[in-house]
């Protein structure tokens, strides 16, 4: 009898087929359409559309602001998750559910509210603007709303890992004479690192794609506070579909490259831990 090559898990063909079909329908086909539309341009037109001084300033701002916001979210999100897991206090349930609110709120609302708060006559702006802190119509404003929309990601990826973390290992570390900082750095942080990186990547990707809130708080000044998606809208207004999608393709490629990089980092950090 011929030996049959049996896989441990049955149904590979079916589940793989389903995965590819599903991904194609939702992600690959729209992205391919994007590439196809952009390829209707000649190489010269393409370059002229995506690589102007103004477009470069916009890419830098889009990715820069998303990066800064994701770093802030990694630190603040970790803190939030820590407080939610390790301490018991009244109203904890409510605080916990507040974390997800940025996902549900239309982001345009967030942009409008943030800018109204931070303008010269706003609740916060009346104290901050005299100090020279421009929270509305500035790069700071963009980072602020991106921190808002990215908030849930780090908290929700780190939280379950923290819950599983056994306090005994921290106690052991303390009993071996480690300071609190040493315990945090050598015991807690390595365990959390992969989740932290995942949360960071999600928050970062969310920030790159954000449009609704940013247009209301950035002021959209070319070279200063103009994000790349605004350029796409501007080209669409001229009925220049090809140029608009070309800019989208550049954003896609940069995002994809960065996500691969972050993925590598995550894997490296996992190996490092073991």
């Amino acid at each position: 009898m011929a030996s049959v090559n049996r896989k441990v898990l049955p149904g590979l063909a079916l589940s793989l087929g389903y995965t590819v079909f599903y991904l194609s329908l939702l992600v690959l086909v729209p992205i391919a359409a994007c590439f196809l539309k952009a390829s209707s341009l000649s190489a010269e037109e393409l370059w002229g559309a995506v690589w102007t001084d103004r477009a470069r300033a916009a890419y830098l701002l889009t990715f820069g602001a998303a990066f800064v916001a994701a770093v802030a979210n990694a630190v603040l999100g970790l803190l939030l998750a820590w407080v939610l897991v390790r301490y018991a206090f009244p109203g904890k349930r409510i605080v916990d559910s507040l974390i997800d609110l940025p996902l549900a709120l239309p982001t345009a609302v967030a942009g409008l509210v943030y800018s109204a708060l931070y303008v010269k006559k706003g609740w916060l702006g009346q104290y901050l603007v005299p100090l020279g802190i421009q929270g509305a119509y500035s790069r700071l404003g963009i980072v602020l709303v991106l921190i808002f929309v990215g908030l849930p990601f780090v908290v929700r990826t780190v939280q379950p890992i923290l819950e599983d973390l056994d306090p005994e290992s921290e106690e052991a570390s303390a009993s071996l004479g480690a300071t609190r900082w040493q315990t945090f750095r050598s015991v807690i942080l390595p365990t959390l690192r992969p989740a932290l990186i995942t949360g960071f990547a999600l928050a970062f990707a969310r920030g790159v794609g954000e449009y609704g809130s940013v247009v209301f708080i950035s002021g959209n000044m070319p070279y200063k506070t103009e994000i790349a998606p605004i350029l796409i809208v501007a080209r669409l207004e001229e009925f220049a579909y090809g140029e608009a999608t070309a800019i989208a393709v550049v954003l896609l490629l940069i995002s994809f490259a960065m996500l691969i990089l972050i993925n590598r980092l995550e894997r490296w950090s996992l190996r490092h831990e073991q």
Partner: protein
């Protein structure tokens, strides 16, 4: 048996008569601030159409940014009529073959049942003394206007500012210098007209808001004394054309109703409604009757006085690499 037959006949006759009074649904695809105007016009036109033609008409409205709406129609939104803010948008639909022939000439007054312009809204009592375009670039004056790249209000404001120099004998160089200075004093470029209104009214940013005339009237009325309307001596004549979308009305068999709808806009009744919503009627008698709303002092110039046509003006001033792009280029 005969009774049954006669009953059937009656039922059939009833069905036939109700089929004679057809149900027709029209879709009017328009731009953002016209929501109330079209609702009012539809409420008057529908009963009138029922009386004359006997058909039950329903008119749906769709509103959004003008060129976004044009793209939606190009991509298959079933518009019977389009009533968009600028001729570029209607032409874009025509270029795809959905509107045929020389559409501008098909209706009276070059398919323009009304027109509008860009005016100034200032703070109560006009503390910065803003009366005319040159006043905008005085030191310390902040101007609120939406992004010309993404908003019809935005590029019409730009055309108006540009034309205020050109139509009064200035050179192109003067005009470039003027708009460069002007946009240097614009603190925020909102993406659309309503965003700019929020910035000016709610967030109290800026000294003057360059707004659509109809929006300016509403803005001042709602501010209850906190804002004033200022008519500059000159401004742009904004021309929102109306057009039948041939491909759609032929497929949906709604041409007759759609044509009647557009023709209705030129009646005295419709012109009055248009004036009531602060759009300028083309009927001179109606315009004069509403002189309190539309002061005669303002001289409106056509886009043809600043360029060959609308598309050329947009390309030269707003399009990629145009004048607007050079304004923000950092000096090296």
């Amino acid at each position: 048996m005969t009774r049954l037959v006669s009953k059937l006949a009656v039922a059939l006759a009833l069905a036939a008569s109700s089929a004679a009074a057809a149900d027709v649904t029209l879709l009017n695809v328009s731009y953002d601030p016209t929501r109330e105007l079209w609702r009012d016009i539809n409420d008057h036109f529908i009963p009138q159409y029922k009386k004359t033609k006997g058909d039950n008409l329903a008119i749906k409205q769709s509103h959004g940014g003008s060129s976004t709406q044009a793209r939606a129609v190009i991509d298959g939104l079933d518009a019977d009529v389009v009533t968009l803010a600028s001729v570029i948008d209607t032409d874009a639909i025509a270029q795809k073959g959905l509107i045929t022939g020389d559409w501008v000439k098909r209706l009276p007054n070059s398919s323009l049942p009304y027109y509008s312009t860009i005016v100034f809204v200032v703070r109560k009592g006009n503390p910065k003394g803003i009366r005319d375009w040159p006043d905008l670039v005085k030191p310390g004056v902040e101007i609120v206007t939406p992004n010309p790249k993404t908003s019809g209000n935005g590029y019409l404001s730009f055309f108006a500012a540009w034309g205020s120099v050109i139509t009064r004998g200035g050179s192109k160089k003067d005009a470039v210098a003027y708009v460069t200075k002007l946009y240097g004093q614009v603190p925020v470029l909102d993406s659309g007209a309503r965003g700019a209104t929020t910035t000016f009214v709610q967030k109290e940013i800026g000294d003057v808001h360059l707004a659509w005339e109809n929006e300016a009237h509403l803005e001042v009325r709602e501010a209850k004394g906190d804002l004033d309307l200022v008519y500059p001596p000159v401004s742009i004549r904004a021309e929102p054309h109306v057009a039948l979308v041939d491909a759609n009305v032929d497929r949906k068999k709604t041409r007759a109703a759609a044509e009647a709808y557009l023709k209705y806009l030129y009646t005295d009744e419709a012109q009055e409604i248009i004036a009531k919503h602060f759009y300028r009627p083309i009927n001179d008698a109606v315009l004069k009757k509403n002189a309190a709303t539309f002061p005669a002092g303002i001289k409106l110039f056509s886009v043809k006085e600043i360029a060959a046509d609308f598309a050329a003006a947009h390309k030269e001033l707003i399009g990629t690499g145009g004048v607007f792009d050079t304004i923000y280029k950092p000096k090296r």
